[in-house]
């Protein structure tokens, strides 16, 4: 069953959140958006329903955050809480309902970016973590990691330096370049720490986007494959158990032998009570 980081929001039922929650994390310019734009159509082609979401996209707080960022008077605690409002609005109204409907949710950033940003701004680490205890634990966090030296050309030749991405609220005395490097370095260090704390899967985001994409595809296939198999084997197990209960013991024994004698398991793991030695040692193979 799905878990949270420690606290449950009112009305949030964890038992029926069957979909997959996949997080793409990384600093600004790591190529998260590019990858999500490649992953979504690929997953849909494979037959999965996909919801993509990301920071400040909530109907409730998205515009408010954008307006607040236009001025230079957004404090660090206020900023953290405004983003948390945006996050929880999407968590309750988009992410959880999509998971309930069996979707794959691809999210461009999650609580980790918000924690990292708050941390480099000197917010109490315990406070920001207790705030996000209500978040759902994802099935995977892919951390697109790229060094600051590689980040700079990506940013300069795409959209130019941005006030907030350069942490100008923190380094007002520097020019944008120095501010950007210092801020992104601090963020990167924070991400690296969070990676250990929350168990990210680090993906080297320095090569060509196509290579990063193949790496992500392989990892996601692995994740979905495992889920598919365990779902299937649960179905098989339940069906056979139901049938066995109604059967004559001799027939049940024959059925067990028949399944055990098959050279290749058709789907996933063979349920433990049907395993070849039949000793029922309590372990799935």
């Amino acid at each position: 069953m799905r878990e949270t980081y420690g606290k449950l929001l009112p009305g949030m039922k964890l038992s029926d959140l069957a979909g997959k929650l996949i997080v793409i994390e990384g600093t600004d310019g790591a190529g998260r958006t590019t990858q999500i734009n490649l992953l979504k159509p690929w997953l849909e082609e494979l037959g999965h329903a996909v919801l993509d979401t990301g920071m400040t996209r909530s109907p409730l707080a998205g515009d408010g955050i954008r307006r607040a960022k236009e001025g230079n008077n957004l404090g660090r605690v206020t900023q953290s809480l405004f983003y948390a409002t945006d996050f929880v609005d999407r968590l309750e109204n988009e992410i959880a309902p999509a998971l309930r409907a069996g979707f794959i949710v691809l999210t461009d950033r999650y609580i980790y970016s918000l924690i990292a940003r708050a941390m480099v701004r000197g917010v109490d680490p315990a406070w920001i973590r207790s705030l996000y205890m209500v978040a759902l634990k994802p099935d995977a966090v892919f951390y697109l990691r790229v060094g600051v030296d590689q980040l700079v050309p990506r940013v300069i030749f795409s959209r130019g330096f941005d006030y907030w991405e350069s942490g100008m609220d923190l380094f007002p005395a520097h020019d944008m370049y120095d501010a950007f490097c210092n801020y992104q370095k601090a963020l990167l260090a924070e991400f690296d720490r969070l990676s250990t704390e929350y168990g990210f899967e680090t993906v080297d985001a320095s090569p060509d986007p196509k290579i990063v994409f193949s790496s992500l595809k392989a990892r996601i296939l692995n994740l979905l494959d495992g889920a598919q198999k365990s779902f299937m084997s649960r179905q098989v197990e339940e069906t056979i158990e139901r049938m066995t209960r109604m059967m004559d013991p001799a027939v049940a024994f024959a059925a067990q032998n028949f399944v055990a004698s098959q050279p290749e398991p058709v789907m996933g793991n063979i349920p433990r009570f049907l395993s070849a030695n039949g000793n029922g040692n309590g372990h799935h193979s």
Partner: protein
């Protein structure tokens, strides 16, 4: 997790002290900031705003630099709260978070710097309003308290205690209709706004009662005449203003 009090992240100091086992909220006044923070709490119709405005006038007449801050009034956050309420988009969690965002903006921009500068700050509703309302809406009690960990502890938190029926009588006499969230209609306690309001405010009253010992709220009997209540409020405030001469603004 790093909880070292001396923790520095890069070049920036950590904003909050590490959480202690006692109160989650830092003190103002003695041992804290030079300013004084007086706040009023109570359910709708308890008469707290009247009392605060009378205190405000008295403090100004005495020559103190007084600043007033109202619940839900941040210019930065206001539009978002308004949108959420108007379109009924708020869940208990986002209701809690957007109000906390509003409070954070007021804390960072006015309450905290003003207290550091030595002003007398008056707040109509404070964190206790959030604790009462959000928990009445089903939020986790500890989570909400942790959320407001950055708040400055008031010098005095006045709680205007009034029986539910008295408050309902005052509110229904003064208003044509109750607002959706104000009446707690989002909780589905009742379809009738008055009945829903009664149930919701009842829960809020229970939370306030619990907070009196927890946070040492100063209880004022709000059924007493306005003048008597104000006399008590001024007496208590006066004691806290002793030794705060530096707060006086020169004419």
């Amino acid at each position: 997790m790093d909880t070292n009090p001396a923790l520095r992240v890069g070049a920036f100091e950590v904003l909050f002290p590490v959480r202690q086992n006692q109160s989650l909220i830092k003190p103002s006044g003695d041992g804290g900031y030079p300013g004084r923070l007086f706040i009023v709490e109570g359910i709708d119709g308890s008469g707290k705003s009247t009392q605060l405005s009378l205190l405000h006038k008295w403090l100004e007449a005495k020559g103190y630099g007084v600043v007033f801050s109202e619940w839900n009034s941040s210019m930065l956050v206001k539009d978002t709260t308004k949108l959420g309420k108007k379109k009924k988009m708020l869940t208990p969690a986002t209701f809690s978070l957007i109000h906390c965002t509003d409070f954070a903006d007021r804390t960072e921009k006015s309450i905290l710097p003003l207290l550091k500068a030595g002003a007398v700050v008056l707040c109509d509703r404070y964190v206790y309003t959030a604790f009462a309302r959000d928990v009445a809406r089903g939020m986790d009690r500890q989570w909400v308290r942790d959320l407001y960990d950055f708040a400055v502890k008031p010098t005095v938190a006045f709680y205007f205690r009034v029986p539910l029926e008295t408050a309902i009588g005052r509110i229904t006499a003064a208003r044509d209709c109750l607002k959706y969230y104000e009446a707690g209609l989002d909780l589905g306690l009742s379809d009738d706004p008055i009945e829903s309001f009664r149930k919701f405010q009842g829960r809020i009253l229970d939370e306030y009662e619990r907070m009196i010992p927890e946070f040492g709220l100063t209880v004022i009997d709000a059924t007493l005449p306005v003048e008597v209540q104000q006399m008590q409020v001024r007496q208590i405030a006066k004691r806290q203003l002793e030794g705060a001469e530096e707060l006086r603004v020169r004419p």
